[in-house]
Symmetry: C2
């Protein structure tokens, strides 16, 4: 299938917003951002590559969800409103000629565009090993962007949703012999892995009360480490307070679930810090946006220049096996 037919047939969907002056099919897309002097563009890029982030036989809907939602999650962590994105799709020949695969992939993108209010403006399709790179642009008011460098000693460390489910789901992907304790556990964990939920609405509503935020893509401890380093503070996480799903605990037991929650990646929940005085406001917003928020620790003073995340269990420092992966480590 030629590139132009592929775009026409599978990647032309959604209602073109007024801000899009020129769409797919010319040398560039042309967009008209809002011209308020307070508005900034927030831009982020994420690649998913077969063999590194997913297995080559991944379901097309799961690939679409993970590729777009990991980008939306970065915007959520900045408090930005999703607007436009480009899609670079590298397809092996068997998939490029598989109309069912392409339909399911693009239908899932279209559904997510509808849900999160973003629009596909262009991209590139090439032949090669399966990979998806999305670059997304959002808008955010300068004064309300949730950066990483503003955490202050005494801030509460909070997270949305439950943690560790994605790495729990990954165990079923990697190990077909793994027995589900209950079928519903497996299904829940796989859904959380394949279709993560970017916390866009919560990020937008909460940013007025949030000091800094990051999305949990590499694991809570690893991601919170970026906040403490940028803010020149430390943090204590109470492992017993980590929000765990029944499925995760039921499938893997309490201790393994805690380890997954503290160090497993791909959850795409938000980790953020707030002044304790704003906890009521945050809880209200959580309720309004249908998200559970849990306080899991606090920001502490660093000893000398050692900005670290400490994980505590029953008041004792607990060493964890690091799961949050680093590329090229």
């Amino acid at each position: 299938m030629a590139e132009f037919e592929l775009i026409a047939q599978h990647f032309t969907f959604g209602h073109k917003p007024e801000s899009v002056v020129l769409d797919k099919g010319d040398d560039c897309a042309l967009i008209k951002p809002l011209t308020s002097s307070e508005k900034l563009l927030a831009i982020t890029t994420d690649s998913l590559v077969a063999g590194t982030h997913f297995l080559a036989d991944i379901q097309p809907k799961a690939l679409a969800s993970r590729a777009l939602n990991s980008n939306l999650s970065d915007l959520a962590a900045m408090g930005a409103t999703p607007k436009w994105y480009s899609l670079a799709l590298t397809l092996p020949k068997n998939i490029a000629n598989n109309q069912v695969w392409l339909s399911e992939f693009s239908q899932q993108l279209a559904a997510l565009n509808e849900e999160y209010g973003c629009y596909l403006i262009g991209g590139d399709t090439t032949s090669g090993p399966l990979a998806v790179t999305i670059s997304i642009i959002g808008e955010v008011e300068h004064s309300q962007a949730m950066l990483r460098e503003n955490a202050q000693v005494g801030d509460l460390v909070c997270v949305t949703g439950s943690l560790g489910d994605a790495v729990g789901g990954l165990q079923f992907v990697l190990n077909s012999d793994l027995t589900a304790v209950q079928p519903a556990y497996k299904q829940h964990l796989l859904t959380r892995f394949n279709h993560p939920t970017p916390r866009v609405a919560f990020g937008l509503a909460a940013k007025q009360f949030v000091r800094c935020a990051i999305d949990v893509s590499d694991g809570l401890v690893a991601d919170l480490s970026h906040i403490v380093k940028a803010s020149q503070v430390s943090a204590e996480i109470k492992l017993s307070q980590l929000p765990l799903s029944d499925a995760l605990v039921g499938q893997f037991g309490q201790m393994q679930a805690i380890e997954y929650a503290a160090t497993g990646g791909d959850d795409y929940e938000l980790c953020f810090t707030i002044n304790p005085a704003h906890l009521m406001d945050i809880n209200k917003i959580a309720e309004q946006t249908g998200v559970v928020v849990t306080v899991v620790g606090e920001i502490t003073q660093s000893e000398q220049n050692n900005h670290q995340v400490f994980t505590l269990l029953d008041g004792q420092t607990q060493q964890l096996t690091q799961l949050g992966y680093q590329h090229f480590a």
Copy 2:
């Protein structure tokens, strides 16, 4: 090497423009575009994948040039000023740990940023088969963007530079047994293939006189076809007028050179149409920006709804072997 070190060591270069509020290292980059109501953002994305667009042993400087310059060329074809770009880099382990490779790749990017005035705002590095996806953003005045749909019957069809050199250079890449007629021919053609020259300055200066433009990435005939279809016209190309380098003709002979020039991709020259009354203006701009411009044909009326590019040699229609490749064909 961890992703964060890799970014700090190799991908932190250039003078951060005032428009960049937040740089690499947070969830998103934050940029502040000009707030004139006439300004649009022009956005384009290009992927280069090992085995499809280049061989895996490509020189890192050539890969950096081809990846960034193919994107800059799309902005040139729109008449947009390059501003910010993101880089998604997928590296196999041996390259991720090869400091010399990474240095050369990033030095070449830095040099091109300096030359074309663009700035790396962020991206992603992942492990996997070598691939580069760049998404670049430029600025253009709404009324001066060079679209594809404005060609009119009687317009002259012009091209910048010389055509066919890139596919000539590719022959040396693909066939190590190919003998150079002269060493300088081989060197010229390989340089044109590995380090294409995006016509950014010419595009910016010429756009006021240009009716529509496209960059020659898939081959002149294939790319001009997009213009004639979008504009609902046809075009005649006089093959004897195609600008051919001495190296291309010297290496491959006149007829093969013409075929390469008409149908070979990756030249990243501009093909554009103008009202004949503006030829003098265009020639002046060509001289000022150090670019050769050649009139290679004209826009003609379509018979019925058959919008086509006709290639003529000595007044006769000449069939060409199609080289301009289509992915997944």
